[in-house]
């Protein structure tokens, strides 16, 4: 039984934590929050220079070839540090989609640039309210040109390329590569609950695209499964950060002549946060195994990891504010940064009810087999 990270992966985690503690500070996150910049460009460049963007990209495409478990390790630290960079969009979504379904030419051209941080990528599936559903897709490709509106698109305003879910002339759902800089693409920044992560509405008006081989919806679901595991690690990192923050405050803060952490109302609340976080961590570990082993269990493991981590992150973030009391909901305290991000992460790949249904669908498939 070896259900834990290797020494090499632990070293990577320590390195990532040191870097992010130094750089992903409250001050720098708040510059993005305040709209000074849509993301922290300097941090992004340093992350690229350390090779994190290509952690799971094979060396032949300019990656580090560390595998997906290495990427999971990084994801946990990025989530813990609330890093204000387009990592999830560019790495878990765009890079993974190209790795899974890109043509050889697309992979050879784009993966090295994504891994180097020269290009930022994203994936655009949503068209307004609703969880992933092929019936929702109205964007249309006619004669190789895309027309339609996608929102919210994570990092849509800063990405250079997007994988867009659309329908072709035969009504088939496909995944299409779109270069966002050119004519006919109209990005519009969205105001969201978490301004530390850029989101946009992208309108396409006859934009040339390259359609990826294969069934677009199938690819999308496979990308979402992979991203679900990686974001689960971000959520676990975030939950742990909230728990650490709440525990530290509960030891420090005195009321009624004693530390508030000595009251069972607080202790039991934080014990429950700990339990939820550990369950989420264990489910995420299993997802990491399924992802890196290319196991058939991935859909079930990914959905369980996502449901568990979404619950833990949200629970930890809201109870962190509650533990802090009044100061917890002030702008100056960082509690709300975690609270915003927790909800954003819980929605960005589709919300919990959709993923719960995927858990049961996967269980039905497994038991039928």
């Amino acid at each position: 039984m070896n259900f834990d990270f290797s020494d090499e992966q632990r070293q990577l985690r320590d390195q990532a934590r040191r870097f992010l503690t130094e750089h992903s500070t409250s001050k720098r996150i708040r510059q993005v929050l305040d709209g000074v910049a849509p993301y922290d460009r300097a941090m992004w460049q340093e992350i690229a220079a350390m090779g994190w963007l290509g952690a799971a990209v094979p060396e032949e495409y300019g990656g580090a070839g560390l595998g997906h478990v290495g990427l999971c390790v990084l994801a946990e630290e990025l989530g813990r540090a609330l890093a204000p960079v387009p990592f999830a969009s560019s790495v878990y979504l765009a890079t993974e989609a190209l790795l899974l379904a890109g043509s050889e030419a697309q992979k050879a051209e784009l993966l090295p640039k994504l891994a180097a941080g020269e290009l930022i990528g994203t994936l655009a599936w949503a068209e307004g309210a609703g969880n992933p559903n092929p019936a929702q897709i109205k964007a249309r490709i006619i004669g190789g040109k895309l027309t339609g509106v996608k929102w919210p698109v994570p990092d849509g305003g800063i990405a250079d390329i997007a994988l867009v879910v659309a329908r072709d002339e035969t009504d088939r759902v496909v995944l299409a590569l779109v270069r966002l800089g050119g004519a006919g693409v109209h990005p519009e920044a969205l105001t969201t609950i978490d301004p530390t992560r850029e989101q946009a509405k992208l309108s396409f008006d006859g934009v040339p695209v390259e359609v990826l081989p294969g069934d677009g919806w199938d690819t999308l679901e496979r990308v979402l499964d992979r991203a679900a595991v990686l974001i689960a690690f971000e959520q676990v990192g975030l939950a742990q950060a909230c728990l650490d923050m709440a525990v530290a405050f509960a030891m420090e803060r005195h009321a009624f002549g004693r530390p508030i952490g000595s009251f069972q109302a607080i202790k039991h609340k934080l014990a429950d946060v700990y339990v939820a976080t550990e369950l989420a961590r264990s489910n995420a570990y299993y997802g990491a195994w399924a992802l890196s082993a290319g196991a058939g269990e991935l859909p079930l493991a990914a959905a369980a990891a996502r449901v568990s981590a979404t619950e833990a992150a949200w629970f930890a973030a809201k109870e962190n504010i509650q533990t802090h009391g009044g100061i917890g909901f002030t702008w100056e305290m960082d509690c709300h940064l975690y609270y915003r991000r927790a909800k954003l992460l819980g929605l960005t790949l589709g919300s919990a009810p959709w993923w719960k249904d995927r858990v049961v669908a996967a269980l039905e498939t497994r038991n039928a087999a």
């Binding site: 259900f3 728990l243 069972q264 202790k267 039991h268 550990e278 570990y285 009810p353 858990v359």
Partner: protein, 410 residues
Amino acid sequence: MDFEDTVEEAAFRTEVRAFLAGNAERKKRGAPPSRSRNVGPEELASAKKYQGAKAAAGLSGLTWPKQWGGREAPPIFQVIYNQEEEAYSIPRGVFEIGLGMCIPTMMAYATQDQLKRYVPKALHGNEVWCQLFSEPSGGSDVAAVRTRAERDGDTWTINGQKIWTSGAQFSDFGIIVTRSDPTVPKHMGLTFFFLDMKSPGIEIRPIKQASGASHFNEVFFTDVKVPDAQRLGGVGQGWRVSLTTLMNERLAIGDVPRPDVEDLLDLCRIIDLDGAPAIQNVAVREKIADMHVRSQGMKYTRFRTMTALSRGQTPGPESSIGKLVNAAKLQDIASFGLDMLGSAGIVMDKELAPMNAMFQEALLGAPASRIAGGTDEILRNIIAERVLGLPGDIRVDKEIPFNRLPTGKR
């Protein structure tokens, strides 16, 4: 990451499988045997026979010193044994406490001659042990012991009452913590002994639980004589000895209470809800997903614990969440299983209630799971204090002599 055994672990697993195939019956698919069944003479005889075979095969006391019949194996071997045993119908509830808690306490405090007399007979299933800690006035507050031990020369006289004693009715020996000095603060006036459960003055009465089962007893002591040679630890040092016992609680790995999420899935397939199989109902699906996530979260938390054990490390604090999660999950699954049957959920006639009434039985048994062996509340305190490092509660009983502590009516 992988789920493979090491070479030594794989060899041991093969050994265990061979033993089990020759000495026990595989569980039948479907509902487990009824939980409400009590241990009668037949079950006791079969448990003793099985324990004897297990010890003869060198598969009991795996982590114990070789001197006492163990094999000095790392704890992961015990986990592997438990995993393999899961697939078999094994008589339970007789030796766990004696071999898991009582004998390890004896090993820490008894004399070599005493160990020679008692350990082999316990290991080979000839003698059964029980643990006498809880009292009517002290459940979670374990040190609030009122059972008195008074010394006269080399003999102690014990008077009082213990409660929640598993297996007292068929035990040969017991370990007991008593109050030898009520005039000093609570933790300081305790003294620990082992005693013969057939001693004159001991009366044992089964407790009928809300579920109808009787897993526990009340044990009354009236002028029970215990020689000073059977004292474990110093006079007034009983709390320290008790902690040794509690630290030896069996590695609770691999014990998943049923019904679990797989049973819930089975139930959802055979039950109709609004004219369609229940599993097609959105609310049902959401609940199944919630339960699956908790169940799998526990499974892979156990795998993390096993990884630490396999590497010869002490398991991390995550190993402390098991009972808290499992007991609450059991109650939730049982309750939801009944909800799906509508008004028929109340029926527990075995011919009418699906799956041998396992959901109804679990509903009635679940409250005990959330209390016995550490209540949910005590477990949350332990996580908060030992794992998260939060301060202990303010104690009002630390400095005051035990006999001056206020007491309630219950």
